[in-house]
């Protein structure tokens, strides 16, 4: 007889451990369909547990789970508060969509023999990310960073069946990721050496007693650099475009929807907890490091995307600029800025996941990396996919009645209350420039006649079902913005300790 309350109480651990433990099972099953079912079960379980955790947290407040029963700072602690609950719901929700989509994608993009193992890898990536956002221990975070890195690297490398460039993309990802992770470890080591603790909450407390300490500043800088690599913040983004371009379609969906977002969340958390007491230094990091980086990222990403022909690369560059918008929200250093970032984290992952799904639906059929001209006349052959892509592109542009608009007005409002006019101008200018890359896709889909390459394309229900759901979300939460906005508000107040 299972004691339900024990199960309920250990949900914070289970939501990470279950996908990790299901991974070997999925590998051993060796029948792709069964492995897929196991992966699906794993992701649905994560969704279930994260949603119930989210509800618990919003009702009763923060949950601290002590691994093995050892109290922090001696043992490892898992923290589910409004912010991390927001993230696990997002990650596991996108995980479910991506897993549903993955079946068809892997079936055609990966050899049959490898498929079971790939689902194992998939679960590892998912579990790693969930662990990443919930752990309250700086070193444990590193371990999960590595789990998610190594599994995503392998998943990216599997794109080599269609295009061998996936291998170099994966290697770069591995190398840059490993250097980033090592930077993170150096940073943790520096902070550890002056405080003696690894628990993030304890660390924050100890650091607040120190003032003007070189090691603290350097340590935090190293941690931030390490996380910037994972979050693909300019100029440490170099792994991202080719990784997104050459990975199997489903992997691109998973990475864009969850991996960078988890890293961004951890970055935000570190920024606003560890930097608690270092006012001047916070300003230096935010205003002189992150802010210029995000501005350059926005311009660079947008302009590269405008001139890019390969669609996946185009989307990757667009991600780069959208990540810039997220970090701009953080650099404002106000509660409303952080809230805007959270809203955009959620919204951008819904948009980009849907776009990568839609584009993947085409490249799965064409068995190649598609370019913008391959979209010509798509509306005739794949009306459902085309409509979904169109809706999501409009959302990406921030057109009213879509989630992109919600992101944009909250970001603009945050910038307004901060009074930073140049940033305001940059945001509106680049969101206009985004029309340049987004519209060429719409024009090709709707306003051109089909060409020989697209003539045999068909809508595939197995692929477009998750896509339809995501596009509906794009509109639904654009009109009825309450849930996301409120959740983002509590999330931002959970990590933003400063006087709101």
């Amino acid at each position: 007889m299972i004691d339900f309350s024990v199960f309920q109480n250990s949900l914070p651990a289970l939501q990470v451990v279950v996908p990790l433990l299901l991974a070997p099972v999925a590998v051993l099953v060796t029948i792709p369909f069964l492995s897929w079912l196991i992966a699906l079960f794993g992701s649905i379980f994560c969704l279930y547990s994260s949603v119930s955790l989210f509800l618990l947290v919003s009702e009763f407040g923060k949950i601290n789970y002590y691994m093995g029963g050892w109290l922090p700072p001696y043992g490892i602690e898992y923290i589910i508060d409004d912010a991390s609950a927001f993230m696990i719901v997002l990650i596991s929700l996108m995980g479910v969509f991506a897993t549903v989509y993955a079946y068809q994608s892997f079936k055609s993009e990966i050899n049959k023999k490898s498929q079971s193992k790939v689902y194992g890898m998939w679960l590892l990536a998912l579990g790693g990310l969930l662990g990443l956002v919930t752990t309250g221990d700086a070193f444990n975070l590193f371990v999960f960073l590595e789990i998610s890195s190594l599994s995503s690297v392998t998943l990216v490398a599997l794109g080599s069946k269609n295009d061998k460039r996936a291998l170099t993309a994966a290697f770069n990802y591995l190398l840059i990721g490993a250097v980033g992770a090592t930077f993170y470890v150096i940073g943790v080591g520096l902070l550890y050496s002056i405080t003696g603790t690894l628990n993030i909450a304890d660390l924050t407390l100890k650091l607040s007693e120190l003032t003007d300490n070189n090691s603290m500043k350097a340590g935090i800088s190293f941690i931030i650099i390490g996380l910037m690599v994972k979050a693909a913040i300019f100029p440490l983004h170099i792994w991202l475009p080719s990784a997104y371009t050459f990975a199997p379609s489903a992997v691109a969906v998973l990475l864009t929807a969850t991996a960078t977002k988890a890293a961004l969340y951890v970055l935000a958390r570190i920024l606003f907890t560890l930097l608690f007491n270092a006012d001047e230094f916070t300003i230096i990091i935010l205003q002189w490091v992150l802010l210029p980086a995000s501005i350059v990222a926005i311009f660079f990403g947008t302009i590269r995307a405008v001139f890019e022909k390969n669609i996946r690369k185009l989307l990757a560059f667009s991600s780069l600029s959208q990540i810039g918008y997220i970090t701009i929200g953080l650099t404002l250093g106000t509660a409303s800025g952080v809230m805007a970032s959270f809203i955009h984290i959620a919204n951008h992952s819904m948009m980009k996941a849907a776009l990568f799904m839609g584009v993947g639906a085409i490249s799965i059929q064409l068995k190649k990396n598609i370019e913008v001209i391959d979209l010509q006349g798509l509306s005739r052959q794949m009306p459902i996919t085309s409509s979904c892509i169109t809706v999501v592109i409009l959302s990406l542009l921030g057109i009213p009645l879509t989630i992109g608009f919600i992101s944009k007005i909250y970001l603009l409002k945050a910038v307004f209350s901060h009074g930073n006019w140049p940033i305001l101008f940059i945001i509106v200018l680049t969101s206009f420039l985004a029309l340049g890359y987004a519209w060429k896709m719409i024009e090709n889909i709707w306003m051109k006649e089909p060409v020989t390459t697209t003539i045999n394309l068909k809508d595939d229900p197995k692929i477009y079902i998750p896509l339809i759901f995501l596009s509906i979300f794009n509109i639904l939460f654009g009109i009825y913005a309450y849930p996301i906005v409120n959740a983002a508000f509590s999330a931002s107040s959970a990590i933003f300790w400063k006087a709101v």
């Binding site: 190594l150 061998k164 090592t182």
Partner: protein
């Protein structure tokens, strides 16, 4: 001041070693050498951690049973045990990737691969 510098000189050595590793990662084009650089970089970071745990006149953190024994701090050791294993895992995956790259491209020199890829892009 002199005392201070003497007390932290060990860190500086470690820093130099780290930077040598990082230098190899960035400057070399040979992928295997990059991995070697990464290994050196990471091992130097381990040195940094372990030197943190040292206590002057202490012994290894294995309980001797005597009272008043001064033990070095076990926590950095634990962390580094984990980190070593993670490092090897990274190396293994990296080498597997390098083998595949060699198989597909016929070379493991980064610049040659890059020019190969740009050709592919312009096709």
């Amino acid at each position: 001041m002199i005392h201070g510098i003497l007390g932290i000189w060990n860190y500086w050595i470690v820093i130099i070693l780290m930077m040598t590793g990082l230098f190899i990662v960035i400057s070399r084009h040979n992928l295997v050498k990059k991995m070697v650089g990464l290994t050196i970089f990471q091992t130097s970071v381990f040195l940094f951690y372990i030197s943190l745990g040292k206590v002057q006149g202490g012994t290894a953190p294995i309980l001797t049973g005597y009272k008043n024994t001064l033990y070095s701090n076990p926590l950095p050791h634990v962390l580094i045990l984990t980190a070593i294993v993670v490092g090897v895992a990274t190396t293994a995956l990296g080498l597997a990737l390098i083998l595949r790259i060699k198989n597909e491209y016929g070379t493991i020199e980064e610049n040659e691969i890059a020019s190969f890829n740009t050709e592919e892009n312009s096709k």
